[in-house]
């Protein structure tokens, strides 16, 4: 015998479950980024959109994303790109149009076989323009004694120029808090003079990272389209880059030479340090579901910065600039003696920092040096771009609105 009450109860529960699901789907659709999914995606790399496919010769392999330049220094660079099938990836590079050098992506004595490629090139000459191209060979089988390769695709010609101590007149651009609105990347970068040497993204390129596809859509594609095949992106991790199911995948897309989110580089008269200011609340904040444990990471970073600020690369530079997502002066409640706000302020005063550039607040603000700090602290707004010109050992910063109107210009000596 079937109990009628039970059936009704079950139907009731079923309706409730359906209602919850409908509500979930509805609320997801309401969110501004329509490609988001509620389910946890596969561990495998999502196939990215193939909106911009550069010319490829002799092959049906598509370079789905990139190439993308990060981590450029005087002697090294990292080039990453993605293919739509598993391939062995190489970068061929040289000077004056030749491609006599080759670096094959490898791991532990084997050619790496991936869709996502990361090639680190060392031993470059400072201040030199290198032409480079991707070379990908499709891998159809890696079975023992039955290795089968497909076509080889040679990518288009691009170039990059290594930094040099002699660079005494150049500019770079800083954008921030683009939050998945890709025009915040492409449009401001079209407003400024096109001779900038590199771009710094001040963090919060995302709301949260739920799929790897989102990383391509919201950051990689607009950067590649605008500059990143020729000029490096230096990314500053924001608090939103701690959110979502796959935040720890992001570094694979923005590889650094330290393997960390904090790093430094030097170009001419200016030394740069990028730091990760973590999340804006306690690790225990419920938004993060107890999935943040950042204390040790922040301490490691602070201790590394202390060492970095003693190095020749830093101390011999007349101009010293720090990029940090969360502006220190708006985050005074962090009193950690290692890596808290006061600790950083003291450290940066001691290290002779001249300029700190932040985002996070979405609104422009400039704090001049005062009794607490010896440096200018600039916050760039969400729909703005700061163009920083390094010349005669000084930094002249001009910030533009989304429509090209100048907000303010100031010079730091």
């Amino acid at each position: 015998m079937v109990d009628k009450n039970k059936i009704f109860k079950f139907i009731g529960i079923a309706i409730l479950v359906c209602a919850v699901i409908v509500f979930c789907v509805y609320s997801l659709q309401k969110s501004d980024f329509s490609e988001k999914t509620a389910s946890i995606p596969d561990q495998t790399l999502d196939l990215p959109d193939q909106t911009s496919v550069p010319p490829v010769q002799n092959s049906d392999i598509n370079i789905a994303e990139g190439p993308f330049i990060t981590a450029l220094t005087e002697n090294a660079v990292i080039i990453s790109w993605q293919t739509d099938v598993d391939t062995i990836g190489k970068i061929e590079y040289g000077i004056d149009g030749n491609y006599s050098n080759v670096v094959t992506e490898c791991e532990d004595g084997l050619a790496a076989v991936n869709k996502h490629h990361i090639v680190i090139i060392n031993g470059l000459r400072p201040g030199t323009t290198y032409n480079y191209r991707t070379v990908c060979t499709e891998v159809k089988s890696l079975e023992k004694d039955n290795i089968m390769l497909g076509n080889t695709a040679i990518g288009a010609d691009y170039s990059f120029t290594t930094h040099s101590t002699a660079d005494d007149d150049y500019s770079f651009c800083f954008i921030t808090d683009t939050h998945e609105y890709t025009k915040r990347i492409t449009r401001p970068l079209s407003l400024v003079p096109q001779d900038y040497s590199f771009v710094v993204h001040g963090g919060d390129a995302f709301a949260q990272i739920q799929t790897t596809r989102e990383i391509n859509y919201a950051l990689i594609e607009p950067c590649v389209e605008t500059f990143a095949k020729f000029k490096p992106l230096y990314f500053v991790r924001g608090n939103h880059e701690y959110r979502g199911t796959y935040p720890d995948k992001l570094l694979e897309y923005l590889p650094t030479l330290t393997g960390e989110w904090y790093y430094s580089f030097r170009k001419g008269d200016s030394a740069y340090t990028v730091i990760d200011t973590g999340i804006s609340v306690d690790d225990s904040d419920q938004r993060y579901g107890g999935l943040i444990q950042s204390t040790e990471y922040r301490h490691n970073q602070f201790n590394r910065a202390k060492e970095q600020f003693k190095s020749d690369e830093w101390t011999t530079a007349p101009m010293r600039i720090v990029f940090a997502h969360i502006p220190f002066m708006t985050n005074k409640e962090n009193t950690d003696p290692v890596g808290g706000t006061q600790a950083w302020t003291d450290l940066m005063n001691d290290a002779g920092v001249k300029l700190v550039i932040s985002g996070h607040r979405h609104i422009y603000r400039l704090d001049l040096p005062d009794e607490e700090k010896n440096y200018h602290h600039l916050i760039v707004g969400q729909n703005q771009i700061a163009r920083v010109e390094i010349k005669d050992k000084a930094a002249t910063v001009t910030t533009y609105e989304f429509d090209g109107e100048i907000v303010e210009t100031f010079t730091v000596y």
Binding site: A14, I40, L142, E143, I147, R243, T245, P255, G278, L291
Partner: protein, 389 residues
């Protein structure tokens, strides 16, 4: 009325499906593989396990099984790691101390900001391990090699191990008949090791030439990650490294692929020669370090008895750096080479049907070779070299 029924039935079917999926995921948060121990030192150990749902991983541990008062959660650059694999190195341990531990985790169903869906804490059983100690007199380990997918024989050989006084186990490489899928790694290495000893006793794996071949060769290291890492995001460390236990130093080598990189059938997928140069540079540094030079006994594990491409370089480096004993495999017959002028160390070539039990005590290393029935085949002793502390 009929249409209402249909709607109800449809709702019922959908709900039942959803409910069953839900029920499945709630009751399937289980440890699928492990935990198993690797990379033990006097102060640390790595614990690895796999779950069948995406979850966080934590090891709770302490000096008594009643109070696991310490805990370490796997994190990556400030974020708690979420995934199927969990691998945690416990640091700051005391030498030769018995620690109790268990692995715990929470399933992460979704980590959307504001509404993360995180399951309840799920705990494994309590196991224990004893850390290494460079002061310990009386170290015992076992070496076996070239299992080549013969799991019955592996079971017999691992059954010979006396787990009551075994400090560690070393696999000499070529563990698989094929390395084509993940199940090869479970069936021939992780499963049997965990069953026989690896929850309590660490193992070390010495990469063989066959471990370079097959569709899964590039993924193998994911299961036995090491701390010898590069800057590459997601890197799982090198196959080669050194460690110390008792008054002995050990080097685990990767002797590479046997054929040259240029072999036609590799089609350019083998890039072993430059990699071996990197290893050689590392080995030179390691054998000049006090970890090696200050040890009373010096033991090397290498799959290929001829050490691969740079055979002569390796032989002279091992000779010059005072190596006492080398364990290798890769061949059909058991051979014990005694020291000679070009290779001034004992070299054991073990075949796949044998296991070597090694005991280092006082001024002596004693090697006993047993076959898979547990019958002693050979035994010999090596005296500590003159002039060594």
């Amino acid at each position: 009325m009929r249409s209402t029924n249909r709607v109800l039935v449809a709702i019922l079917v959908i709900a039942a499906t959803i409910a069953s999926i839900g029920a499945f995921s709630v009751f399937s948060k289980e440890i699928q593989h492990g935990p198993y121990l690797t990379e033990m030192t006097a102060n640390s150990v790595r614990i690895t396990w796999f779950t069948d749902t995406i979850s966080t991983g934590t090891v709770e541990y302490g000096l008594s099984s009643d109070s696991l008062e310490h805990s370490v959660t796997e994190t990556n650059k400030g974020i708690v790691s979420m995934g199927y694999r969990h691998t945690i190195t416990l640091d700051n341990l005391k030498p030769r101390e018995k620690y109790y531990y268990r692995v715990v985790g929470r399933e992460v169903k979704n980590n959307t900001t504001w509404s993360p869906i995180i399951g309840a804490k799920d705990s494994g059983e309590i196991y224990n391990f004893t850390t290494f100690d460079t002061e310990k007199n009386g170290v015992k380990f076992y070496f076996l090699t070239d299992v080549k997918g013969d799991t019955d024989r592996l079971d017999n050989l691992l059954g010979i191990i006396n787990t009551s006084d075994c400090d560690f186990v070393v696999f000499g490489g070529d563990q698989f008949s094929t390395l084509e899928t993940e199940s090869d790694v479970w069936d021939c290495l992780i499963g049997p090791s965990t069953l026989h000893f690896a929850k309590n006793i660490p193992f070390f794996y010495c990469r063989g030439d066959d471990d370079y071949k097959g569709s899964f060769a590039r993924s193998f290291k994911y299961y036995i990650p090491t701390n010898n890492k590069t800057i590459r995001p997601g890197d799982n460390g090198k196959y080669y490294y050194g460690f110390n236990h008792g008054r002995a130093a050990f080097a685990v080598l990767d002797t590479g692929s046997k054929e040259p990189d240029s072999l036609d059938s590799f089609k350019g997928t083998m890039l072993c020669q430059p990699y071996m140069k990197e290893e050689y540079t590392w080995l030179t540094e390691y054998m000049a370090s006090s970890d090696w030079t200050d040890s009373s006994f010096k033991i090397v594990f290498a799959h290929n008895p001829d050490f691969g491409y740079s055979s002569e370089d390796y032989k002279s480096l091992l000779t010059d750096s005072g190596t006492d004993l080398v364990f290798t495999g890769d061949q059909q017959e058991y051979v014990h080479h005694t020291p000679n002028s070009s290779e001034d160390y004992h070299k054991v070539i073990l075949d796949s049907d044998k296991i070597a039990e090694v005991y280092i005590v006082d001024n002596e290393i004693t090697v006993t070779v047993l076959n898979s029935e547990g019958v002693e085949v050979d035994t010999f002793s090596i005296e500590k070299r003159e002039g060594i502390q």
